[in-house]
């Protein structure tokens, strides 16, 4: 396993796309935080909204940009190997396919984790500079942990989806289309078609919708209790995490099996 991890680390760190993707994953949220932070510097902004900025707004925007960039990093971890014909040389050096798949997942997950922490640190520093050190509540602090978990799971998703399909050209668009188009449409259908209204509570279990709520800085259940809500009770952070993790596990099982069984 150590050999596979060493291989994967050298593989990851010797292609330029890695640095581009990681750079963008840190830079774009930082620019967004800087921009909104400066625009709102003289306003009374709640700690929850500041926490939302620090977590790149992934709970609010349909496309969690840093998560998608780490997903792409995961896609390329496998996609590059198939596209450029290096999977066979890799497997002649590391015939244990499970070890190679595990190494890819671990290295991308670890890189995603560190990147998420760097994003949090940079954006926290920017907010602290502009607005002073905020007094974050429990939900906001938990959203930071949720943000890290979300980004790690997206990185893993990129690897496993490409292990499953071997098609970078299919997986890359899906990473954008599923959270940005498909799930919003599915969430909206019960409102547009009365017959589908009973299905509305099920929309909470859409994986990307649930995953984004891992980084929700507000306690939506408490808000719903206080102000009342016509819709179903929001899922807890743990439940949202479980939904997204279950989706990741669901993709991982056939991906692993196929990688073991099919021809290289």
């Amino acid at each position: 396993m150590r050999d596979a991890l060493r291989f994967e680390w050298v593989r990851l760190t010797t292609v330029r796309s890695t640095y581009w993707l990681l750079g963008m994953a840190v830079l774009f949220p930082a620019l967004l935080t800087l921009l909104i932070g400066l625009v709102t510097r003289n306003e009374d902004v709640t700690p929850e909204l500041l926490a939302g900025l620090i977590t790149s707004g992934v709970a609010f925007f349909p496309l969690p940009l840093p998560a998608v960039l780490l997903g792409i990093l995961g896609v390329l971890a496998v996609g590059h190997e198939y596209r450029h014909g290096t999977m066979r040389p890799a497997l002649t050096a590391l015939p244990n396919r499970s070890a190679l798949a595990a190494a890819k997942l671990i290295v991308i997950a670890a890189t995603s984790l560190v990147t998420a922490l760097v994003i949090l640190l940079v954006d926290y520093a920017l907010i602290a500079l502009i607005h002073g050190v905020p007094d974050f509540g429990g939900a906001a602090v938990a959203s930071f942990a949720g943000f890290v978990v979300l980004l790690v799971l997206w990185g893993v998703l990129g690897v496993e989806a490409t292990l499953l399909t071997r098609l970078t050209a299919l997986v890359l668009p899906l990473l954008f289309v599923l959270p940005l188009v498909i799930e919003p449409v599915l969430r909206g259908l019960p409102f547009l078609i009365p017959a589908l209204e009973p299905l509305q509570p099920a929309s909470r279990f859409l994986p990307f919708t649930a995953g984004a709520q891992l980084a929700q800085p507000m306690d939506l259940a408490a808000v719903a209790d206080e102000f009342g809500s016509a819709g179903p009770q929001p899922l807890s952070r743990a439940a949202n995490g479980a939904v997204f993790a279950a989706f990741i596990a669901l993709v991982l099982a056939p991906a692993w099996l196929l990688f073991e069984k099919r021809d290289a």
Partner: protein, 307 residues
């Protein structure tokens, strides 16, 4: 020693490799021959456990996937240009070396062996096919293995490169190591290989020393030239003896030995201006052996061309 036993690979209802068994012994270059689509590349992938199929290949008694650091024992090149276009040649090798705990210094050594030191830090996207082959060979040599499995390694190499490859593989084998190499360059194989494994349509046609293969699949012809050629040929006619026309006043005879022709000419007082034998080349033997087993055959020149 490589021992392949009953290798089999089926795509749909078509057997690409059909019960192949052979041995590749150390100390010799073993050529792997077969027409296009014969199953050579599939066989090599089966040997290296890259493809799943029937049978097994043992390297000194072990399956490939059971070998702890395979690059240290078996080097392989299955495709030219199997590298990321912007990862430098040295980093490509570093990556593979890391997988088998091979020191990074060895990357520089093998780049020097294959003559790519000058482009070690360059991006290989501009590499020619030949340079790609050299990088592949460098990767195969990383772990200083005792066995090389190479699929068409001469593809894209210039004449100097082919000459270098031939000398390299021959000396590699001469040091007691094992070389299993496929090629469609028969003239090259004739100069390089000591043993052959010849397949057609996924099935074994022949295996053994090159000379044995040539002798088995070709006939020795007798070339005779004489001022009384027609009379001599008439005397030689008999069961199994055939004459091929030759435009330069000679006759090419099958089914008769040089000694028989000489004796008969002497007995009838016929002067001979030439009496020689013509042995078929590896190419002729290969065409003879695999003629019926060619998967894809073009039409003969002129055939199917209508004015």
């Amino acid at each position: 020693m490589i021992t392949a036993q009953n290798l089999r690979k089926v795509y749909g209802n078509k057997a690409a490799v059909d019960g192949l068994s052979f041995e590749v012994r150390p100390g010799a270059v073993t050529g792997f021959l077969g027409p296009n689509g014969a199953g050579k590349s599939t066989t090599m992938r089966l040997m290296l456990d890259l493809d799943h199929g029937g049978g097994e290949t043992l390297f000194d008694g072990r399956r490939f996937r059971q070998i702890h650091h395979p690059l240290r024992e078996i080097g392989s090149v299955l495709e030219a240009k199997a590298f990321h276009p912007t990862r430098s040649a040295r980093n490509h090798l570093r990556m593979l070396a890391a997988a088998n705990d091979i020191p990074a210094q060895r990357c520089d050594d093998v780049l020097e062996i294959v003559g790519l030191t000058q482009v070690a830090k360059g991006k290989p996207k501009s590499f020619s096919l030949g340079m790609g082959q050299r990088l592949g060979l460098a990767a195969a040599l990383l772990g200083d293995p005792h066995t090389l499995i190479l699929d068409e390694p001469a593809n894209g190499l210039d004449p100097q490169g082919i000459h270098w490859l031939r000398d390299f593989l021959k000396s590699f084998a001469a040091s007691g190591r094992t070389v299993f190499v496929s090629s469609h360059l028969l003239s090259e194989m004739a100069l390089m290989a000591d043993e052959l494994v010849v397949i057609g349509r996924g099935r074994m046609i022949d295996s053994g020393p090159v000379q044995q293969f040539v002798e088995r699949f070709s006939t020795v012809q007798v070339v005779v030239r004489s001022p009384r050629l027609a009379e001599l040929v008439e005397l030689l006619r008999g069961p199994g003896v055939t004459e091929q026309p030759s435009g330069d006043g000679a006759a090419i005879l099958d089914g008769v030995t040089r000694e028989q022709v000489g004796d008969l000419a002497a007995a009838h007082g016929i002067a001979l201006h030439e009496l020689s034998t013509r042995t078929a080349s590896l190419e002729q033997a290969f065409l003879e052996a695999t003629g019926a087993a060619s998967e894809y055959r073009a039409s003969a020149v002129g055939e199917g061309v209508h004015s």
